[in-house]
Symmetry: C2
Subunit: 306 residues, 2 copies
Protein backbone atom coordinates (compact mmCIF):
# COMPACT_ATOMS: atom_id res chain seq x y z
CA UNK A 1 0.00 0.00 0.00
CA UNK A 2 1.08 3.59 -0.46
CA UNK A 3 0.26 6.89 1.19
CA UNK A 4 -0.55 10.13 -0.57
CA UNK A 5 -0.77 13.34 1.40
CA UNK A 6 -1.63 16.89 0.47
CA UNK A 7 -0.59 19.70 2.76
CA UNK A 8 1.68 22.68 3.21
CA UNK A 9 5.42 22.67 2.64
CA UNK A 10 6.54 25.87 4.27
CA UNK A 11 8.98 28.11 6.06
CA UNK A 12 8.36 28.52 9.78
CA UNK A 13 9.95 30.99 12.15
CA UNK A 14 9.33 29.90 15.71
CA UNK A 15 9.76 31.54 19.09
CA UNK A 16 9.48 29.53 22.29
CA UNK A 17 10.54 30.36 25.86
CA UNK A 18 13.74 28.46 25.00
CA UNK A 19 14.83 30.36 21.93
CA UNK A 20 13.90 31.35 18.41
CA UNK A 21 14.66 30.21 14.89
CA UNK A 22 15.15 31.91 11.53
CA UNK A 23 13.08 30.60 8.65
CA UNK A 24 13.29 26.83 8.93
CA UNK A 25 11.63 23.96 7.09
CA UNK A 26 8.02 23.43 8.15
CA UNK A 27 4.54 22.61 6.88
CA UNK A 28 2.07 19.82 7.50
CA UNK A 29 3.06 17.72 4.47
CA UNK A 30 6.71 18.01 5.48
CA UNK A 31 6.10 16.52 8.92
CA UNK A 32 3.72 13.90 7.56
CA UNK A 33 6.21 12.91 4.88
CA UNK A 34 9.19 12.66 7.19
CA UNK A 35 7.23 10.69 9.78
CA UNK A 36 5.90 8.28 7.15
CA UNK A 37 9.32 7.80 5.56
CA UNK A 38 10.83 7.09 8.96
CA UNK A 39 8.37 4.20 9.12
CA UNK A 40 9.44 2.97 5.67
CA UNK A 41 6.03 3.65 4.16
CA UNK A 42 5.86 4.66 0.49
CA UNK A 43 4.75 8.27 0.75
CA UNK A 44 3.95 10.85 -1.96
CA UNK A 45 3.49 14.56 -1.25
CA UNK A 46 1.27 17.02 -3.09
CA UNK A 47 2.07 20.62 -2.31
CA UNK A 48 3.45 23.87 -3.71
CA UNK A 49 6.56 25.95 -2.97
CA UNK A 50 8.18 29.08 -4.41
CA UNK A 51 11.48 29.61 -6.18
CA UNK A 52 12.97 30.52 -2.78
CA UNK A 53 12.54 26.96 -1.50
CA UNK A 54 16.00 25.36 -1.16
CA UNK A 55 16.55 22.41 -3.51
CA UNK A 56 18.48 20.85 -0.63
CA UNK A 57 15.24 20.36 1.27
CA UNK A 58 13.71 18.47 -1.66
CA UNK A 59 16.90 16.45 -2.02
CA UNK A 60 16.81 15.59 1.69
CA UNK A 61 13.22 14.39 1.31
CA UNK A 62 14.08 12.28 -1.74
CA UNK A 63 17.05 10.72 0.04
CA UNK A 64 14.64 9.61 2.73
CA UNK A 65 12.41 8.02 0.12
CA UNK A 66 9.75 10.73 0.12
CA UNK A 67 8.27 11.13 -3.37
CA UNK A 68 8.09 14.84 -4.26
CA UNK A 69 6.91 14.85 -7.91
CA UNK A 70 3.65 16.28 -6.58
CA UNK A 71 5.38 19.34 -5.10
CA UNK A 72 4.96 22.08 -7.66
CA UNK A 73 7.72 24.70 -7.72
CA UNK A 74 6.54 28.15 -8.82
CA UNK A 75 9.86 29.77 -9.62
CA UNK A 76 8.66 33.38 -9.48
CA UNK A 77 6.59 32.82 -6.35
CA UNK A 78 7.42 32.71 -2.65
CA UNK A 79 6.95 29.76 -0.30
CA UNK A 80 4.20 29.85 2.34
CA UNK A 81 5.58 31.43 5.52
CA UNK A 82 4.27 31.17 9.06
CA UNK A 83 5.72 32.70 12.17
CA UNK A 84 4.50 32.20 15.72
CA UNK A 85 5.41 32.74 19.32
CA UNK A 86 4.55 30.17 21.98
CA UNK A 87 3.51 31.23 25.46
CA UNK A 88 5.29 29.99 28.56
CA UNK A 89 3.03 26.96 28.95
CA UNK A 90 3.69 25.96 25.29
CA UNK A 91 0.01 25.08 25.01
CA UNK A 92 -1.00 28.32 23.34
CA UNK A 93 0.65 30.57 20.80
CA UNK A 94 0.25 33.81 18.89
CA UNK A 95 0.59 33.85 15.14
CA UNK A 96 2.94 36.70 14.23
CA UNK A 97 3.00 36.37 10.44
CA UNK A 98 1.05 34.36 7.88
CA UNK A 99 2.11 34.88 4.26
CA UNK A 100 0.13 32.55 2.03
CA UNK A 101 2.21 33.39 -1.06
CA UNK A 102 2.09 30.50 -3.58
CA UNK A 103 -0.51 28.77 -1.43
CA UNK A 104 -3.06 31.48 -2.27
CA UNK A 105 -3.86 30.05 -5.70
CA UNK A 106 -2.75 26.48 -5.03
CA UNK A 107 -4.18 23.99 -7.52
CA UNK A 108 -3.01 20.60 -6.38
CA UNK A 109 -1.88 18.11 -9.04
CA UNK A 110 -1.81 14.44 -8.08
CA UNK A 111 1.03 12.67 -9.94
CA UNK A 112 0.20 9.56 -11.94
CA UNK A 113 2.29 7.39 -9.61
CA UNK A 114 0.26 8.45 -6.59
CA UNK A 115 -3.27 8.51 -8.00
CA UNK A 116 -3.88 4.91 -6.93
CA UNK A 117 -2.74 5.38 -3.32
CA UNK A 118 -4.77 3.23 -0.95
CA UNK A 119 -4.44 5.68 1.93
CA UNK A 120 -5.06 9.38 1.36
CA UNK A 121 -4.17 11.85 4.09
CA UNK A 122 -5.80 15.22 3.49
CA UNK A 123 -3.64 17.62 5.51
CA UNK A 124 -5.08 20.76 7.05
CA UNK A 125 -5.83 23.03 4.05
CA UNK A 126 -8.75 24.74 2.32
CA UNK A 127 -11.49 22.11 1.83
CA UNK A 128 -11.63 22.98 -1.89
CA UNK A 129 -8.01 21.84 -2.23
CA UNK A 130 -8.79 18.67 -0.30
CA UNK A 131 -11.79 17.97 -2.56
CA UNK A 132 -9.69 18.55 -5.68
CA UNK A 133 -7.15 15.95 -4.58
CA UNK A 134 -9.88 13.47 -3.77
CA UNK A 135 -11.42 13.98 -7.24
CA UNK A 136 -8.09 13.26 -8.94
CA UNK A 137 -7.74 9.79 -7.45
CA UNK A 138 -8.15 6.92 -9.96
CA UNK A 139 -10.55 5.26 -7.59
CA UNK A 140 -11.71 6.00 -4.11
CA UNK A 141 -8.86 5.19 -1.68
CA UNK A 142 -9.46 2.46 0.87
CA UNK A 143 -9.00 5.04 3.59
CA UNK A 144 -9.41 8.80 3.49
CA UNK A 145 -8.03 10.61 6.55
CA UNK A 146 -8.90 14.26 7.08
CA UNK A 147 -7.16 16.84 9.20
CA UNK A 148 -8.86 20.20 9.53
CA UNK A 149 -9.24 23.05 12.01
CA UNK A 150 -11.62 25.67 13.41
CA UNK A 151 -10.53 28.21 10.77
CA UNK A 152 -12.28 26.19 8.01
CA UNK A 153 -15.34 25.68 10.21
CA UNK A 154 -15.63 29.44 10.55
CA UNK A 155 -15.01 30.29 6.90
CA UNK A 156 -15.93 27.39 4.61
CA UNK A 157 -18.54 25.37 6.48
CA UNK A 158 -20.41 23.96 3.46
CA UNK A 159 -17.29 22.88 1.58
CA UNK A 160 -15.91 21.39 4.77
CA UNK A 161 -19.10 19.36 5.23
CA UNK A 162 -18.64 18.07 1.68
CA UNK A 163 -15.11 16.81 2.46
CA UNK A 164 -16.13 15.40 5.81
CA UNK A 165 -18.90 13.41 4.14
CA UNK A 166 -16.25 11.69 1.99
CA UNK A 167 -13.92 10.95 4.87
CA UNK A 168 -13.32 7.73 6.81
CA UNK A 169 -11.17 9.15 9.60
CA UNK A 170 -11.21 12.71 10.91
CA UNK A 171 -8.56 14.07 13.26
CA UNK A 172 -9.35 17.27 15.15
CA UNK A 173 -8.65 18.65 18.59
CA UNK A 174 -11.15 18.70 21.44
CA UNK A 175 -12.21 22.32 20.98
CA UNK A 176 -12.73 21.77 17.26
CA UNK A 177 -14.76 18.62 17.92
CA UNK A 178 -16.98 20.70 20.19
CA UNK A 179 -17.32 23.44 17.57
CA UNK A 180 -18.03 20.98 14.77
CA UNK A 181 -20.70 19.12 16.73
CA UNK A 182 -22.14 21.74 19.05
CA UNK A 183 -21.71 19.20 21.87
CA UNK A 184 -19.51 19.69 24.94
CA UNK A 185 -19.23 16.01 25.88
CA UNK A 186 -16.63 14.44 23.58
CA UNK A 187 -18.62 11.20 23.52
CA UNK A 188 -21.65 13.05 22.20
CA UNK A 189 -19.48 15.14 19.87
CA UNK A 190 -17.98 11.99 18.31
CA UNK A 191 -21.45 10.47 17.86
CA UNK A 192 -22.61 13.56 16.00
CA UNK A 193 -19.48 13.67 13.84
CA UNK A 194 -20.04 10.02 12.87
CA UNK A 195 -23.37 11.10 11.35
CA UNK A 196 -21.52 13.61 9.13
CA UNK A 197 -19.53 10.82 7.49
CA UNK A 198 -16.40 9.62 9.31
CA UNK A 199 -16.68 6.12 10.78
CA UNK A 200 -13.57 6.89 12.83
CA UNK A 201 -13.17 10.06 14.90
CA UNK A 202 -9.82 10.90 16.46
CA UNK A 203 -9.86 13.69 19.03
CA UNK A 204 -6.40 15.08 19.79
CA UNK A 205 -5.88 16.54 23.25
CA UNK A 206 -2.22 17.60 23.03
CA UNK A 207 -0.40 16.85 26.28
CA UNK A 208 -3.44 14.84 27.40
CA UNK A 209 -3.25 12.33 24.56
CA UNK A 210 -5.95 11.32 22.11
CA UNK A 211 -9.23 9.44 21.84
CA UNK A 212 -10.39 7.19 18.99
CA UNK A 213 -14.13 6.64 18.54
CA UNK A 214 -15.61 3.95 16.29
CA UNK A 215 -18.91 2.12 16.25
CA UNK A 216 -19.65 2.76 19.93
CA UNK A 217 -16.14 1.77 21.00
CA UNK A 218 -13.56 4.14 22.47
CA UNK A 219 -9.78 3.84 22.72
CA UNK A 220 -7.75 6.30 24.79
CA UNK A 221 -4.03 6.88 24.55
CA UNK A 222 -2.10 9.25 26.79
CA UNK A 223 0.63 11.52 25.51
CA UNK A 224 4.10 10.57 26.69
CA UNK A 225 4.83 12.81 29.70
CA UNK A 226 8.03 14.62 28.76
CA UNK A 227 10.54 16.34 30.94
CA UNK A 228 10.97 19.09 28.39
CA UNK A 229 8.65 20.17 25.60
CA UNK A 230 10.87 22.36 23.49
CA UNK A 231 8.73 23.24 20.45
CA UNK A 232 5.25 21.80 19.78
CA UNK A 233 5.24 22.88 16.12
CA UNK A 234 4.41 19.95 13.86
CA UNK A 235 3.43 17.58 16.65
CA UNK A 236 -0.11 17.15 15.29
CA UNK A 237 1.13 16.61 11.74
CA UNK A 238 3.78 14.16 12.87
CA UNK A 239 1.08 12.29 14.76
CA UNK A 240 -1.09 12.20 11.62
CA UNK A 241 1.85 11.07 9.48
CA UNK A 242 2.86 8.31 11.86
CA UNK A 243 -0.75 7.22 12.16
CA UNK A 244 -1.36 7.09 8.39
CA UNK A 245 1.96 5.41 7.66
CA UNK A 246 1.39 2.71 10.26
CA UNK A 247 -1.97 1.93 8.62
CA UNK A 248 -0.23 1.69 5.25
CA UNK A 249 2.25 -0.75 6.79
CA UNK A 250 -0.46 -2.79 8.46
CA UNK A 251 -2.39 -3.07 5.18
CA UNK A 252 -5.52 -3.44 7.28
CA UNK A 253 -7.20 -0.16 8.19
CA UNK A 254 -9.53 -1.42 10.95
CA UNK A 255 -10.13 -0.44 14.59
CA UNK A 256 -7.44 -2.73 16.05
CA UNK A 257 -4.82 -1.49 13.57
CA UNK A 258 -5.81 2.07 14.31
CA UNK A 259 -5.03 1.58 18.01
CA UNK A 260 -1.50 0.57 17.06
CA UNK A 261 -1.35 3.43 14.57
CA UNK A 262 -2.34 5.90 17.29
CA UNK A 263 0.48 4.54 19.42
CA UNK A 264 2.98 4.92 16.60
CA UNK A 265 1.72 8.43 15.77
CA UNK A 266 1.98 9.47 19.42
CA UNK A 267 5.47 8.05 19.72
CA UNK A 268 6.64 9.89 16.60
CA UNK A 269 5.06 13.15 17.81
CA UNK A 270 6.82 12.83 21.16
CA UNK A 271 10.13 13.12 19.28
CA UNK A 272 9.10 16.15 17.24
CA UNK A 273 8.49 18.34 20.29
CA UNK A 274 11.96 17.68 21.74
CA UNK A 275 13.74 20.12 19.40
CA UNK A 276 12.91 22.97 17.02
CA UNK A 277 11.00 22.16 13.84
CA UNK A 278 11.82 18.87 12.12
CA UNK A 279 15.27 18.58 13.73
CA UNK A 280 14.52 15.84 16.24
CA UNK A 281 12.14 13.96 13.95
CA UNK A 282 14.93 13.76 11.36
CA UNK A 283 17.20 12.16 13.96
CA UNK A 284 14.68 9.47 14.84
CA UNK A 285 15.85 5.94 14.12
CA UNK A 286 13.88 2.68 14.13
CA UNK A 287 15.74 1.79 17.33
CA UNK A 288 14.71 5.02 19.08
CA UNK A 289 11.15 4.53 17.90
CA UNK A 290 11.05 0.98 19.29
CA UNK A 291 12.31 2.27 22.63
CA UNK A 292 9.69 5.04 22.71
CA UNK A 293 6.92 2.58 21.86
CA UNK A 294 8.12 0.29 24.63
CA UNK A 295 7.96 3.30 26.96
CA UNK A 296 4.34 3.84 25.87
CA UNK A 297 3.51 0.25 26.71
CA UNK A 298 5.05 0.65 30.14
CA UNK A 299 3.18 3.91 30.61
CA UNK A 300 -0.21 2.32 30.01
CA UNK A 301 0.10 -1.34 30.92
CA UNK A 302 -1.38 -2.78 34.07
CA UNK A 303 -1.43 -6.45 34.88
CA UNK A 304 -3.02 -6.91 38.25
CA UNK A 305 -6.46 -8.39 38.61
CA UNK A 306 -9.01 -6.65 40.79
CA UNK B 1 -5.64 -4.15 56.77
CA UNK B 2 -7.85 -1.21 57.59
CA UNK B 3 -8.25 2.33 56.32
CA UNK B 4 -8.56 5.45 58.43
CA UNK B 5 -9.47 8.71 56.83
CA UNK B 6 -9.84 12.24 58.16
CA UNK B 7 -11.83 14.76 56.16
CA UNK B 8 -14.98 16.81 56.00
CA UNK B 9 -18.50 15.47 56.49
CA UNK B 10 -20.66 18.26 55.21
CA UNK B 11 -23.74 19.71 53.63
CA UNK B 12 -23.38 20.71 50.00
CA UNK B 13 -25.76 22.74 47.87
CA UNK B 14 -24.88 22.30 44.20
CA UNK B 15 -25.91 24.06 41.02
CA UNK B 16 -25.03 22.62 37.62
CA UNK B 17 -26.39 23.41 34.14
CA UNK B 18 -28.73 20.45 34.74
CA UNK B 19 -30.33 21.52 37.99
CA UNK B 20 -29.73 22.39 41.61
CA UNK B 21 -29.98 20.70 44.97
CA UNK B 22 -30.95 21.78 48.48
CA UNK B 23 -28.51 20.93 51.24
CA UNK B 24 -27.42 17.36 50.57
CA UNK B 25 -24.85 15.05 52.11
CA UNK B 26 -21.29 15.88 51.05
CA UNK B 27 -17.72 16.17 52.28
CA UNK B 28 -14.46 14.48 51.41
CA UNK B 29 -14.62 11.86 54.18
CA UNK B 30 -18.17 10.99 53.14
CA UNK B 31 -17.17 10.17 49.57
CA UNK B 32 -14.00 8.39 50.67
CA UNK B 33 -15.96 6.33 53.19
CA UNK B 34 -18.74 5.33 50.82
CA UNK B 35 -16.26 4.43 48.06
CA UNK B 36 -14.14 2.35 50.43
CA UNK B 37 -17.16 0.57 51.91
CA UNK B 38 -18.42 -0.24 48.41
CA UNK B 39 -15.12 -2.09 47.99
CA UNK B 40 -15.66 -3.96 51.28
CA UNK B 41 -12.64 -2.32 52.91
CA UNK B 42 -12.75 -1.74 56.67
CA UNK B 43 -12.93 2.06 56.82
CA UNK B 44 -12.99 4.44 59.80
CA UNK B 45 -13.85 8.13 59.51
CA UNK B 46 -12.54 10.98 61.64
CA UNK B 47 -14.54 14.17 61.23
CA UNK B 48 -16.91 16.58 62.97
CA UNK B 49 -20.55 17.55 62.41
CA UNK B 50 -23.10 19.76 64.14
CA UNK B 51 -26.36 18.95 65.90
CA UNK B 52 -28.13 19.65 62.60
CA UNK B 53 -26.55 16.61 60.95
CA UNK B 54 -29.25 13.97 60.39
CA UNK B 55 -28.73 10.78 62.39
CA UNK B 56 -30.08 8.99 59.33
CA UNK B 57 -26.91 9.83 57.44
CA UNK B 58 -24.76 8.28 60.18
CA UNK B 59 -27.07 5.26 60.26
CA UNK B 60 -26.77 4.88 56.48
CA UNK B 61 -22.99 4.94 56.78
CA UNK B 62 -23.00 2.35 59.57
CA UNK B 63 -25.30 0.09 57.57
CA UNK B 64 -22.72 0.14 54.83
CA UNK B 65 -20.03 -0.87 57.29
CA UNK B 66 -18.45 2.58 57.63
CA UNK B 67 -17.13 3.09 61.16
CA UNK B 68 -18.21 6.51 62.45
CA UNK B 69 -17.01 6.53 66.09
CA UNK B 70 -14.46 9.11 64.99
CA UNK B 71 -17.16 11.54 63.82
CA UNK B 72 -17.63 13.97 66.67
CA UNK B 73 -21.12 15.47 66.97
CA UNK B 74 -21.17 18.96 68.46
CA UNK B 75 -24.82 19.27 69.38
CA UNK B 76 -24.91 23.06 69.65
CA UNK B 77 -22.83 23.58 66.49
CA UNK B 78 -23.65 23.59 62.80
CA UNK B 79 -22.27 21.26 60.16
CA UNK B 80 -19.77 22.56 57.59
CA UNK B 81 -21.67 23.90 54.58
CA UNK B 82 -20.41 24.49 51.04
CA UNK B 83 -22.37 25.77 48.11
CA UNK B 84 -21.11 26.10 44.54
CA UNK B 85 -22.22 26.68 40.99
CA UNK B 86 -20.60 24.86 38.08
CA UNK B 87 -20.07 26.57 34.76
CA UNK B 88 -21.37 25.13 31.53
CA UNK B 89 -18.22 23.14 30.85
CA UNK B 90 -18.44 21.56 34.37
CA UNK B 91 -14.66 21.97 34.61
CA UNK B 92 -14.79 25.17 36.63
CA UNK B 93 -17.04 26.42 39.39
CA UNK B 94 -17.74 29.38 41.64
CA UNK B 95 -18.00 28.91 45.37
CA UNK B 96 -21.16 30.66 46.53
CA UNK B 97 -21.02 29.93 50.27
CA UNK B 98 -18.44 28.44 52.63
CA UNK B 99 -19.56 28.18 56.26
CA UNK B 100 -16.86 26.43 58.26
CA UNK B 101 -19.05 26.17 61.38
CA UNK B 102 -17.89 23.24 63.57
CA UNK B 103 -14.89 22.75 61.28
CA UNK B 104 -13.41 26.04 62.46
CA UNK B 105 -12.10 24.62 65.73
CA UNK B 106 -11.94 21.00 64.67
CA UNK B 107 -9.71 18.89 66.89
CA UNK B 108 -9.68 15.42 65.38
CA UNK B 109 -9.83 12.44 67.73
CA UNK B 110 -8.69 9.09 66.38
CA UNK B 111 -10.72 6.28 68.00
CA UNK B 112 -8.83 3.43 69.66
CA UNK B 113 -10.11 0.94 67.07
CA UNK B 114 -8.62 2.95 64.21
CA UNK B 115 -5.29 4.07 65.68
CA UNK B 116 -3.52 1.02 64.26
CA UNK B 117 -4.82 1.44 60.70
CA UNK B 118 -2.23 0.39 58.15
CA UNK B 119 -3.43 2.88 55.54
CA UNK B 120 -4.10 6.49 56.51
CA UNK B 121 -5.83 8.77 54.05
CA UNK B 122 -5.42 12.42 55.04
CA UNK B 123 -8.30 14.13 53.24
CA UNK B 124 -8.06 17.73 52.09
CA UNK B 125 -8.07 19.79 55.34
CA UNK B 126 -5.89 22.20 57.30
CA UNK B 127 -2.40 20.62 57.54
CA UNK B 128 -2.48 21.08 61.33
CA UNK B 129 -5.48 18.74 61.48
CA UNK B 130 -3.72 16.25 59.24
CA UNK B 131 -0.60 16.37 61.46
CA UNK B 132 -2.71 15.87 64.56
CA UNK B 133 -4.24 12.69 63.15
CA UNK B 134 -0.84 11.39 62.15
CA UNK B 135 0.50 12.02 65.66
CA UNK B 136 -2.36 10.04 67.23
CA UNK B 137 -1.54 6.84 65.36
CA UNK B 138 -0.15 4.02 67.55
CA UNK B 139 2.65 3.52 65.06
CA UNK B 140 3.40 4.98 61.70
CA UNK B 141 0.96 3.52 59.15
CA UNK B 142 2.40 1.45 56.32
CA UNK B 143 1.04 3.99 53.90
CA UNK B 144 0.14 7.65 54.41
CA UNK B 145 -1.82 9.20 51.53
CA UNK B 146 -2.26 12.96 51.43
CA UNK B 147 -4.82 15.01 49.56
CA UNK B 148 -4.37 18.76 49.63
CA UNK B 149 -5.03 21.82 47.49
CA UNK B 150 -3.71 25.24 46.42
CA UNK B 151 -5.53 26.95 49.30
CA UNK B 152 -3.17 25.35 51.85
CA UNK B 153 -0.14 26.15 49.68
CA UNK B 154 -1.16 29.80 49.76
CA UNK B 155 -1.97 29.99 53.48
CA UNK B 156 -0.07 27.35 55.44
CA UNK B 157 3.05 26.55 53.41
CA UNK B 158 5.34 25.55 56.30
CA UNK B 159 2.83 23.28 57.99
CA UNK B 160 1.95 21.75 54.64
CA UNK B 161 5.63 20.99 54.00
CA UNK B 162 5.70 19.25 57.39
CA UNK B 163 2.80 16.96 56.42
CA UNK B 164 4.16 16.33 52.94
CA UNK B 165 7.50 15.24 54.43
CA UNK B 166 5.64 12.51 56.35
CA UNK B 167 3.63 11.34 53.36
CA UNK B 168 4.11 8.33 51.06
CA UNK B 169 1.56 9.23 48.40
CA UNK B 170 0.37 12.71 47.50
CA UNK B 171 -2.65 13.33 45.26
CA UNK B 172 -3.02 16.79 43.74
CA UNK B 173 -4.20 18.22 40.45
CA UNK B 174 -1.93 19.43 37.66
CA UNK B 175 -2.15 23.12 38.53
CA UNK B 176 -1.41 22.36 42.19
CA UNK B 177 1.56 20.19 41.23
CA UNK B 178 2.90 23.14 39.25
CA UNK B 179 2.33 25.53 42.15
CA UNK B 180 3.90 23.17 44.69
CA UNK B 181 7.00 22.54 42.59
CA UNK B 182 7.42 25.74 40.59
CA UNK B 183 7.83 23.52 37.50
CA UNK B 184 5.52 23.55 34.48
CA UNK B 185 6.50 20.13 33.14
CA UNK B 186 4.63 17.53 35.19
CA UNK B 187 7.60 15.16 34.94
CA UNK B 188 9.84 17.79 36.50
CA UNK B 189 7.15 18.73 39.01
CA UNK B 190 6.84 15.13 40.19
CA UNK B 191 10.62 14.83 40.55
CA UNK B 192 10.70 17.91 42.75
CA UNK B 193 7.76 16.73 44.84
CA UNK B 194 9.54 13.40 45.42
CA UNK B 195 12.33 15.38 47.11
CA UNK B 196 9.78 16.87 49.55
CA UNK B 197 8.89 13.40 50.84
CA UNK B 198 6.32 11.42 48.84
CA UNK B 199 7.75 8.40 47.02
CA UNK B 200 4.53 8.29 45.00
CA UNK B 201 3.04 11.33 43.28
CA UNK B 202 -0.44 11.15 41.75
CA UNK B 203 -1.39 14.04 39.49
CA UNK B 204 -5.14 14.25 38.84
CA UNK B 205 -6.19 15.80 35.54
CA UNK B 206 -9.98 15.55 35.79
CA UNK B 207 -11.52 14.56 32.46
CA UNK B 208 -7.99 13.82 31.17
CA UNK B 209 -7.26 11.12 33.73
CA UNK B 210 -4.33 10.82 36.11
CA UNK B 211 -0.60 10.16 36.23
CA UNK B 212 1.31 8.14 38.85
CA UNK B 213 5.02 8.85 39.30
CA UNK B 214 7.37 6.59 41.28
CA UNK B 215 11.10 6.00 41.18
CA UNK B 216 11.52 7.25 37.60
CA UNK B 217 8.52 5.26 36.37
CA UNK B 218 5.26 6.75 35.11
CA UNK B 219 1.81 5.21 34.75
CA UNK B 220 -0.98 7.04 32.92
CA UNK B 221 -4.68 6.29 33.16
CA UNK B 222 -7.34 8.11 31.14
CA UNK B 223 -10.65 9.15 32.62
CA UNK B 224 -13.62 7.21 31.28
CA UNK B 225 -15.12 9.37 28.51
CA UNK B 226 -18.72 9.89 29.60
CA UNK B 227 -21.72 10.86 27.59
CA UNK B 228 -23.00 13.02 30.41
CA UNK B 229 -21.14 14.52 33.35
CA UNK B 230 -23.92 15.59 35.63
CA UNK B 231 -22.14 16.82 38.78
CA UNK B 232 -18.37 16.59 39.35
CA UNK B 233 -18.66 17.20 43.12
CA UNK B 234 -16.84 14.49 45.07
CA UNK B 235 -15.17 12.90 42.05
CA UNK B 236 -11.66 13.56 43.41
CA UNK B 237 -12.58 12.26 46.86
CA UNK B 238 -14.25 9.18 45.42
CA UNK B 239 -11.12 8.56 43.39
CA UNK B 240 -8.99 8.87 46.54
CA UNK B 241 -11.33 6.59 48.49
CA UNK B 242 -11.40 3.92 45.81
CA UNK B 243 -7.64 4.16 45.46
CA UNK B 244 -6.94 3.84 49.19
CA UNK B 245 -9.48 1.06 49.69
CA UNK B 246 -8.08 -0.98 46.83
CA UNK B 247 -4.62 -0.75 48.43
CA UNK B 248 -6.11 -1.93 51.72
CA UNK B 249 -7.66 -4.88 49.88
CA UNK B 250 -4.44 -5.69 48.05
CA UNK B 251 -2.46 -5.64 51.32
CA UNK B 252 0.57 -4.71 49.24
CA UNK B 253 1.03 -0.97 48.73
CA UNK B 254 3.57 -1.07 45.89
CA UNK B 255 3.74 0.44 42.38
CA UNK B 256 1.95 -2.45 40.65
CA UNK B 257 -0.89 -2.46 43.20
CA UNK B 258 -1.18 1.29 42.85
CA UNK B 259 -1.82 0.97 39.11
CA UNK B 260 -4.77 -1.26 39.88
CA UNK B 261 -5.82 1.08 42.66
CA UNK B 262 -5.80 4.02 40.24
CA UNK B 263 -8.02 2.03 37.93
CA UNK B 264 -10.46 1.23 40.73
CA UNK B 265 -10.45 4.83 41.95
CA UNK B 266 -11.11 6.12 38.43
CA UNK B 267 -13.92 3.65 37.92
CA UNK B 268 -15.58 4.62 41.21
CA UNK B 269 -15.22 8.33 40.38
CA UNK B 270 -16.84 7.81 37.00
CA UNK B 271 -20.01 6.76 38.82
CA UNK B 272 -20.03 9.72 41.21
CA UNK B 273 -20.27 12.30 38.42
CA UNK B 274 -23.32 10.66 36.87
CA UNK B 275 -25.77 12.08 39.42
CA UNK B 276 -25.92 14.77 42.10
CA UNK B 277 -23.78 14.32 45.20
CA UNK B 278 -23.42 10.79 46.55
CA UNK B 279 -26.58 9.51 44.85
CA UNK B 280 -25.00 7.47 42.08
CA UNK B 281 -22.09 6.29 44.20
CA UNK B 282 -24.58 4.88 46.69
CA UNK B 283 -26.23 2.89 43.90
CA UNK B 284 -22.96 1.34 42.76
CA UNK B 285 -22.86 -2.44 43.09
CA UNK B 286 -19.90 -4.82 42.76
CA UNK B 287 -21.41 -5.94 39.46
CA UNK B 288 -21.57 -2.38 38.08
CA UNK B 289 -18.03 -1.76 39.25
CA UNK B 290 -16.76 -4.89 37.51
CA UNK B 291 -18.44 -3.76 34.29
CA UNK B 292 -16.92 -0.29 34.55
CA UNK B 293 -13.47 -1.72 35.19
CA UNK B 294 -13.87 -3.97 32.16
CA UNK B 295 -14.78 -0.87 30.16
CA UNK B 296 -11.55 0.76 31.37
CA UNK B 297 -9.57 -2.23 30.18
CA UNK B 298 -11.21 -2.02 26.77
CA UNK B 299 -10.57 1.72 26.68
CA UNK B 300 -6.83 1.33 27.18
CA UNK B 301 -5.89 -2.12 25.88
CA UNK B 302 -4.07 -2.62 22.61
CA UNK B 303 -2.80 -5.96 21.43
CA UNK B 304 -1.20 -5.47 18.06
CA UNK B 305 2.55 -5.64 17.66
CA UNK B 306 4.35 -2.94 15.70
Amino acid sequence: MKLLTVGTVAFDAIETPFGKTDKILGGAATYIGIAAAALDAEVHLVSVVGGDFPKDYLRMMNERGIRTEGIEVIEDGKTFFWSGRYHNDLNSRDTLVTELNVLENFEPKVPEAAADAEVLMLGNLHPAVQLSVLSQMKKRPQLVILDTMNFWMDLTWDLLMEVIAKTDVITINDEEARQLSGEYSLVKAAKKIHTLGPKYVIIKKGEHGALLFHDGKIFAIPAMPLEEVFDPTGAGDTFAGGFAAQLVRSGRPDFESMKTALLVGSAMASFTVEKFGTERLLETTPELLRERIAAFRELTAFEAEI
